[in-house]
Symmetry: C2
Subunit: 253 residues, 2 copies
């Protein structure tokens, strides 16, 4: 499944990648960057934080990072590529829970059940930082900043999950989806208005609890209204304000 451990040799030059960390410093855009900075450089805790990180990948498009039922031992920060998490009900229908960009963290919902409640599948070739969770929570007891970070990550994801549960029209959902993706790309240092959708229309639809035909239609209409430019999976938000207004009902904040 994986080729080898040498990084930076992915045949995907246009794919966003988090800036590289090294033995001294985490990626600046990583979800754990704050925790890392908080301890300052050279402290023994920093070394501890690095000891429990393991770079894994590359995974190829369609590969599983983890599967439903796998024992929970670690959480993963996306270093490169994008991932979707999805659960598969017993009828075999999958339900997309979320998309994760470089710098974001997957696996938090496995803490309680102690096994992964969902699959995580690479949407593009992807790499990860793997944080052993026992080691991480042990470290968290010594480093309040790390504990704080974990609490915040969990709480944040809780907020976004409940927003999606609301009853909103297809237009609202799609608009909010585009705005959310944009602001997340922007937060990680990429363009917030021009980006590629790494997931299929079907995945978007599944995530938004719509039919893929509906997503197509809404996107087409948004384009004809001049709200977005669209070419295949490449999208540009032309009127981000209008989109944000449309989607405000389920946008964070």
């Amino acid at each position: 499944m994986r080729s080898d451990t040498r990084a930076g040799r992915l045949p995907e030059p246009s794919s966003p990648i988090a800036d590289d960390g090294d033995a001294i410093r985490f990626c600046r855009t990583c979800a754990f960057a704050g925790a890392c900075l908080a301890v300052g450089y050279g402290k023994p805790e920093l070394e501890a934080l690095h000891c429990l990180v393991e770079h894994v990948g590359p995974y190829r498009t369609g590969d599983h990072v983890f599967r439903t039922g796998d024992p929970f031992r670690a959480i993963f920060a996306v270093r490169a590529g994008t991932v979707k998490t999805c659960l598969v009900d017993r009828d075999g229908r999958e339900q997309v829970l979320g998309f994760y960009l470089p710098g974001e963290v997957i696996g938090l919902n496995a803490i309680y059940p102690e096994q992964f409640p969902c699959d995580a599948i690479a949407l593009e070739n992807a790499q990860f930082c793997r944080f052993s969770f026992p080691a991480m929570s042990a470290l968290a007891t010594r480093m309040p900043a790390v504990q704080q970070h974990l609490f915040r990550l969990l709480s944040k994801e809780l907020g976004t999950a409940s927003l999606l549960a609301g009853d909103h029209s297809a237009d609202e959902r799609v608009a909010a989806f585009l705005c959310d993706l944009g602001s997340r790309y922007e937060a990680r240092g990429f363009s917030g208005t021009r980006f590629a959708l790494s997931m299929s229309r079907g995945d978007i639809a599944n995530y938004l609890r719509l039919a893929s035909e509906t997503v197509s239609r809404v996107l087409t209409r948004f384009r004809s209204q001049g709200l977005i430019a669209l070419e295949g999976r490449q999208v540009e938000l032309l009127d981000a304000d209008a989109l944000r207004q449309l989607g405000e009902g389920l946008l964070p904040g």
Copy 2:
């Protein structure tokens, strides 16, 4: 609003109440009971855990426990009564996020934004244990069991939130709602098949993203099918298996 601190004097004899804790011991059915037991009796940490708990209430039906925008300083465990949490969008429409029974914890989604993102409203006269969050997370760094508990509580709520986000029929939603309530009552030591719905049909509908008329119709049909007995807000699950099967698509596990 509150009368005094003496417990057990609520004018609501039929309302479920978590068993009483005292200075030495937490309520056995409380979400924090495990953390409490883990430290053993008489240890200094136990005293610390008690120092940061404050019994608050009683609140009367309709009272706010906290409001959207209130600065986040504490989480609350329900001691008696039931609560709903709901966010109010700028059009003034409210969206119910969840119902909380004795022993359950509210306020976890406020950690990240550092202010409450929703209102919490008592559905019956209610009392709470208030846990100062700064004190609690400080304690968590010294007591791995407390930290573990917080992680698990957060992760668990994450799981339930994403289940509700799926696209399911009205029947599935209502069936799952009834089963979930039943098993939660059971887990806290009450009957899992006979209980009173402390919330209105409108609240149920809002929570399930349905119209209240739809909830009425589904409940009526369930009754005519012999799945439940229903009299006002008093409900009995007559065929819990059938209900569970109906709702399995969005039931935890």
